[in-house]
């Protein structure tokens, strides 16, 4: 059977992608942040996954305002890289995992999650920047990917409870797949940041650290945190953190904290990163 072997959480700042693509990762501004991912790159090499289910949001890159799915799932053979306005990032195309993705899509819909199914999708920095952080700049990505876009841009976003429950349904679906696959679930976005209005630039590192602790130790409580609190305490864009709950739900009750990293700032954002593995009982 397929198995969820790890959960990865990381922020997904567009400027980080630009720093990778323009060879600036060793500049004074960027080096402390990229150094924090050195452990993770080695860990990813030592613990290769067959498929990563990457929970992310599109930032007006592929989806316009004509269609705004709450939860979607990419089931294609491959996913091209979006032009987000600066030209597409010069990185390899992202390879899909259609067999697991179709199984997962069907299973989630039968489990009452009304997924929007994407046979065509181009992916943006929300998905590709985490891959660059975990894998560097390879000629070909080392893992196949199932993109799972979530609407976090337009309020109302899905509730925390719904996100945690979706993660649990992903775990059930993966474990019912006939195939011996090592599967990871990634939750991306956050942590505190606000990129609009007079309050832009808001960072709330103590809140971010508490969020990480709660995600690890008491997701069943954390799921009830209202969106209003994310918006006040972590900034209008901090609500992206509900996507980490989907990752957490897929790991089961207890987890091991393999790695944790925080850094302020990357551009306008408080960067947070976790590697978690399910704790077998």
């Amino acid at each position: 059977m397929a198995k969820i072997v790890a959960g990865i959480a990381t922020s997904h700042v567009p400027a980080v992608g630009h720093a990778v693509d323009s060879g600036k990762t060793q500049d004074a501004y960027w080096k402390p942040m990229f150094d924090g991912y050195e452990f993770s790159k080695q860990w990813a090499k030592d613990n290769p996954a067959d498929v990563a289910i990457i929970v992310y949001n599109d930032h007006a890159s592929y989806f316009g305002m004509d269609i705004m799915p709450t939860f979607a799932l990419g089931i294609a053979d491959s996913f091209a890289i979006c032009d987000e306005g600066y030209g597409p990032r010069p990185i390899p195309v992202v390879e899909g995992a259609p067999e697991l993705a179709t199984h997962l899509g069907a299973s989630l819909i039968m489990d009452d999650f009304d997924m929007t199914i994407l046979n065509a999708l181009e992916v943006d920095h929300g998905l590709t920047v985490p891959m660059s952080l975990m894998y560097g700049s390879p000629e070909k990505w080392p893992t196949k990917v199932i993109p799972l876009p979530v609407n976090v841009v337009m309020n109302p976003q899905p509730s925390g409870e719904r996100c945690l429950a979706l993660g649990k349904a992903i775990k059930r679906a993966v474990e019912q797949f006939d195939g011996d696959l090592r599967v990871e679930v990634w939750g991306t976005g956050g942590m505190s940041h606000q990129i609009q209005g007079a309050r832009a630039g808001l960072i709330n590192l103590p809140w971010d650290i508490q969020f990480m602790d709660d995600l690890i130790n008491q997701p069943e409580v954390l799921q009830y945190k209202p969106h209003l609190e994310y918006m006040i305490e972590a900034g209008s864009e901090g609500v992206e953190l509900i996507m980490w709950l989907i990752m957490r739900g897929a790991l089961g009750d207890k987890v091991n904290e393999v790695y944790r990293f925080n850094h302020v700032p990357a551009s306008n954002t408080s960067v947070g990163h976790l590697i978690l593995t399910p704790k077998e009982d």
Partner: protein, 132 residues
Amino acid sequence: MKPNFEQYKDIPGTTIFTIESAQKGFHLNQFCMSLRDAKNRERFLADGPAYLAEWDMTDEQKQAVIDRDFQRMLDLGGNVYFLSKIFAAEGLSYVQAVSTMTDMNPEEYQQMMINGGRNIEGWRSKKERGEA
């Protein structure tokens, strides 16, 4: 469940993008989406008003775009990820564009971020600030 968009209005200096904004700002945001195409970016930069004339936006929305008044665009239903296509077309970063919505210049804003970002104390509630 009954929606409650009012609850977001007490957050100072913040415009929450809701399903109502999405409806009101649809054509403004779709114009922004068109700038994902390099050819459209060229046409827009060459003659903004002519390019905007092709879109079913309100005059206020068009003027806000011409003025590069991002706060006004947010107020008229724009979403910042969509609006980012306007400043991306001009080669500006998020930091450069976002700072224009604050009371800082880009250099001051960048320095605030390097110093750890905007502290939340005093920024939780308009009522607390005496703004409401």
